[in-house]
């Protein structure tokens, strides 16, 4: 295990203001995510299909209700429009944060 590089993880996560989510990663990087943008980029299959069909519409007043870890590799955000199937992988977030 020792030669294996440490997996990317979350050291600290918190709500910064009305819309921003702050994350400190295990490699020391700090990110600030606009949750409205995260909703727009939702990677779930339904949103993906809607985007491809050109019918993806999300209001810009959508806010998170709850933020939860998913296993060791991702987080899930429950949004105020009832959408909660998007699983945001740490690697994906870390790259964009």
């Amino acid at each position: 295990m020792s030669e294996q590089e440490r997996e990317l993880g979350v050291v600290r996560i918190w709500q910064e203001d009305a819309v921003h989510l702050g994350v400190v990663w295990t490699d020391g990087k700090q990110s600030s995510f606009d949750t409205r943008l995260l909703r727009q980029l939702c990677p779930c299959a339904v949103c993906e299909a809607d985007r491809q069909a050109g019918r993806f519409v999300v209001g810009d007043d959508v806010v998170p209700l709850r933020v939860q870890s998913v296993g060791n590799y991702a987080m899930k955000i429950v949004f105020s429009d009832g959408h909660d199937t998007g699983i945001f992988e740490y690697a994906w977030l870390h790259e964009r944060g």
């Binding site: 295990m1 020792s2 030669e3 294996q4 440490r6 997996e7 990317l8 993880g9 979350v10 050291v11 600290r12 996560i13 918190w14 709500q15 203001d17 009305a18 819309v19 295990t26 806010v63 998170p64 209700l65 709850r66 933020v67 939860q68 870890s69 998913v70 296993g71 060791n72 590799y73 991702a74 987080m75 699983i87 740490y90």
Partner: protein
């Protein structure tokens, strides 16, 4: 003045002990915080050595080294080391029912028939025999076997509220086998399976456990995904046999755990040889070195190679913890015992390397002015 002297003596003892290094964690026992409750009376020194697992394979070796280190001080003429253990870990993560579980460990194989459930059960008993608090979650909903292999009495479903797991030789057990009649197949589709796993994780009083071993169903499907998403697994043990085809399957399991960011802690190879009941010699029925080759290919340690012995196997299938029964000195029992100790070490090392990452989080968003 007396206080000064005591402080000086304590500092000397700690300095002497700082030459003792934990061979797994590669760090000295003082800076690891293992030395606790240090008490010095005249020329007598006493302290607790708090290890990261009661299953520590080098505990006696460490104790001897500590004794020697302290007695090397010219004023110390007696030393008493008490071995204790505190399994360090976060929480099972995800659910409240798992909040006091230090380590959730998947026991998995990519295909059936390699002795995965047997391995889960024997590893659990072997860990429990060292004094650890252990549970088994049989996640093979459609083909449960742990209930049978342990001859445990099932919990009585109360219909509402939390349930207690069954308990057998001190090991807590939850298996679908307790709830469906043996001959009725569990015909269930994906969403129902996921819901049952969720119930196992949230509606049983697992209580305080050092290790909860999760017997994964074979393959890479709904249940495996659900477990990896609903919990924070410390790591996975892969079970295989020496045959090449089994190795191919395990490689698939390795990549699944990699994608889910669950560290593979090591490999246990079953049927690594056949112990002849007549002459006692071992024969490599399925070839040799498969487990070692797999471990090397996956870059993970081989935790153990377990031979098969027909007489012992029968006792095991009847639910006997090998290390607690008449077969405790058999090659099989010894091999499972060694594999359990190696697993406990691998978990301690994994824990030390993991750093400050959160195991899980869950918070509600508050309304705030932008």
């Amino acid at each position: 003045m007396a206080a000064d002297r005591r402080q000086k003596a304590e500092a000397e003892v700690l300095e002497a002990l700082s030459v003792v290094v934990d061979p797994d964690l590669h760090q000295d026992i003082v800076s690891l915080g293992f030395v606790q409750n240090l008490a010095i009376e005249g020329d007598q020194v006493a302290f607790d050595l708090q290890l990261t697992t009661p299953a520590c394979p080098v505990r006696d070796h460490l104790r001897e080294q500590c004794e020697q280190a302290v007695l090397s001080l010219d004023w110390a003429h007696g030393v008493k080391v008490t071995l204790t253990s505190q399994v360090r870990g976060g929480r099972g993560g995800g659910t409240d029912a798992l909040s006091q579980v230090a380590h959730l460990v998947a026991v998995a194989s990519a295909k059936g028939g390699v002795g995965k459930s047997t391995t889960t059960v024997q590893l659990a008993y072997a860990l429990a025999a060292t004094g650890a608090k252990v549970g088994i979650l049989d996640a093979d909903i459609q083909g449960p076997s742990v209930h049978h292999m342990t001859s445990a009495e099932g919990p009585v479903p109360s219909g509402e509220g939390m349930m207690d797991p069954a308990e057998h030789h001190g090991v807590k057990i939850v298996s679908m086998g307790f709830f469906v009649p043996a001959l009725r197949p569990a015909l269930l589709r994906g969403p129902r399976l996921t819901a049952i796993i969720q119930q196992f994780l949230t509606e049983f009083r697992w209580g305080e456990l050092d290790y909860l071993l999760v017997d994964f169903p074979p393959g890479t499907g709904d249940i495996q995904m659900a477990l990896a998403q609903m919990t924070s697994l410390t790591g996975a043990v892969l079970v295989t046999t020496p045959q090449e085809v089994a190795l191919l399957d395990v490689r698939r399991a390795v990549s699944m755990f990699k994608m889910l960011k669950v560290p593979v802690l090591g490999v246990v190879e079953n049927m690594s040889g056949f112990v002849c009941p007549d002459c006692g010699s071992q024969h490599a029925l399925f070839g040799e070195g498969g487990g070692a080759a797999l471990a090397e290919a996956a870059g993970v340690p081989l935790l153990g190679s377990v031979p098969i012995d027909p007489t012992v196997r029968q006792a095991m299938d009847e639910g006997q913890p090998l290390l607690l029964g008449p077969h405790r000195d058999s090659p099989m029992a010894q091999a499972y015992g060694a594999a359990a100790a190696a697993l406990a070490s691998a978990i301690s090392v994994q824990q030390a390397n993991q750093g400050p990452a959160l195991k899980s989080f869950d918070f509600t968003w508050k309304e705030m002015g932008a």
